[in-house]
Amino acid sequence: MGQAPKMNQKMIWTIGGGKGGSGKSFVTANLGICLAQLGVRVILVDADLGGANLHTFLGISPPDLSLSDFIQKRVFHLQEVLLSTSVPNLQLLSGAQDLLNAADAKSLQKRKLLRSIQHLDADFILVDLGAGNALNVLDFFLLSDGGVLVVTPEPTSIENAYRFLKSAFYRRLKGAVSTPSAKALIDGAMDRKNEMGIQNPSDLIEAMKRVSEEEARKVGEEVEGFLPNLVLNQVRTKKDIEVGFSIRSACKRYFGIHLHYLGYIVYDQDVGNSIRKRRPLVLENPRSKAAQCVAEIASKLANKHQAAFRLQGESG
């Protein structure tokens, strides 16, 4: 394993993508293990409030303690429900098991949960999200400036990912402005056939300037700061790999969003086998092609972390 990077700052990565079955939990679990093996402290958060099963990807039976206990106020601090795993440096915050209304967690509870996740003590916090683009899912995704979309190179998965990205992007912008007129303008801009002729973030900023220079400045900052990433899962051919670059280009042209193509994971029978055995692929078969792809992505994330905090250190 590589030398442990010197890190004392936290990075939150939220892993979503819209469509169920694209491999979000697989990626979260295996990425978390690879990062922990690099020597950094990692917490995995299962925020799939409707169908939590990240524990299964880690080979852990449904835990006694979970987010349910925190949401139901049976425990006061989120760290009390953290579970150790067999992998050094890796802890799990298991998702709600039996809370039927967890997916609709009330706004106050949700804000408290989001805040508590941000305050967890770790170098990396990876948050596994549920499918769909319900507001709760979007709010968890927006915990991070650099969320990760896990997408397969299939039309349905890509279509859902675009919908998810668009919803998250506009929710972020809307959260940044305060006046009702600015919020209404953002709502209007979401419809590409809007009568104001707003087609992209630049148009929106220009239109916002007519509402308020200050609100326009805030929107500009949020547009600049929105830096999502893409992981293409289950690629089978070279052409599939290139789909990732096409998604990047399409996002730039259509949404004006700079999507970073973080990497791809090849389709590998070993993935299915490892899930059936309830053993994480990177532990069960680290030499498999898919495991190597995940390890490469983990190494890129660790480098990003180091680079980000080195820069912060230099400018601070």
Binding site: E154, P155, Y162, N200, E242, S246, I247, A250, K252, S315
Partner: protein
């Protein structure tokens, strides 16, 4: 992100203005593949009409940029325009070709002028140039850097300068033209702007 009809050919193909023939070819193939009517990456986003416009723009960009003469003409008329929002490139764009190696080169660096040791801020660069008796428009025509951009560099109009990655290229070209150490000029200039300048 500007609308496609407002973008430069380089923006349309997502390449930097110093892209080689090979890079243009690769970018064209990628763009063609991406915006093909059967592409899984775009079918849910664009209407048929939008796709046709994008495809036409890609073809137009490719045709001009692959032809050396057309590209040169295009660069002269478009890249010197003020709105220098070129696409993000992983690669630092090279400075416009320095006139140093050309036969028509004006040997500015051989003029015996004390150029000092910096720090090379905008005002200092202007003083050196004026001591050498060189018009800014001469620098502009030699380096192909837009005159207004050069003026802004000298005035240190931080908010109106191009993004840093391109600014570095321009500073390099300007410094070479005056026979100064490009590295030192870039370092001094950027540090004088402070950390607030956009990257």
């Amino acid at each position: 992100m500007k609308r496609i009809e407002e973008q430069t050919y380089y923006e349309i193909l997502e390449i930097s203005p110093d892209a080689t023939h090979r890079e243009i070819q690769q970018a064209y193939e990628h763009a063609k593949e991406t915006f093909h009517k059967d592409s899984v990456a775009v079918y849910s986003l664009f209407s048929e009409k939008e796709m046709q416009d994008i495809q036409a723009a890609i073809e137009g960009a490719y045709r001009v940029l692959m032809d050396e003469t057309s590209r040169k003409d295009y660069d002269q008329s478009h890249l010197s325009a003020l709105n220098l929002k070129w696409p993000k490139s992983e690669k630092l764009p090279e400075a416009p070709e320095s006139p140093m190696g050309k036969k028509t080169y004006l040997p500015f660096s051989e003029i015996s002028i004390d150029v000092g040791e910096g720090p090379y801020r905008g005002k200092m660069l202007k003083q050196i140039r004026e001591k050498m008796g060189i018009e800014l428009k001469t620098i502009s025509s030699e380096t192909k850097i837009n005159l207004k951009v050069l003026e802004r560099i000298e005035e240190e109009s931080v908010e109106r300068l191009p993004v840093q990655v391109y600014l570095k290229g321009f500073l390099k070209g300007y410094a070479q033209c005056l026979g100064l150490d490009p590295k030192k000029v870039i370092e001094d200039y950027l540090s004088s702007m402070g950390p607030t300048k956009k990257k």
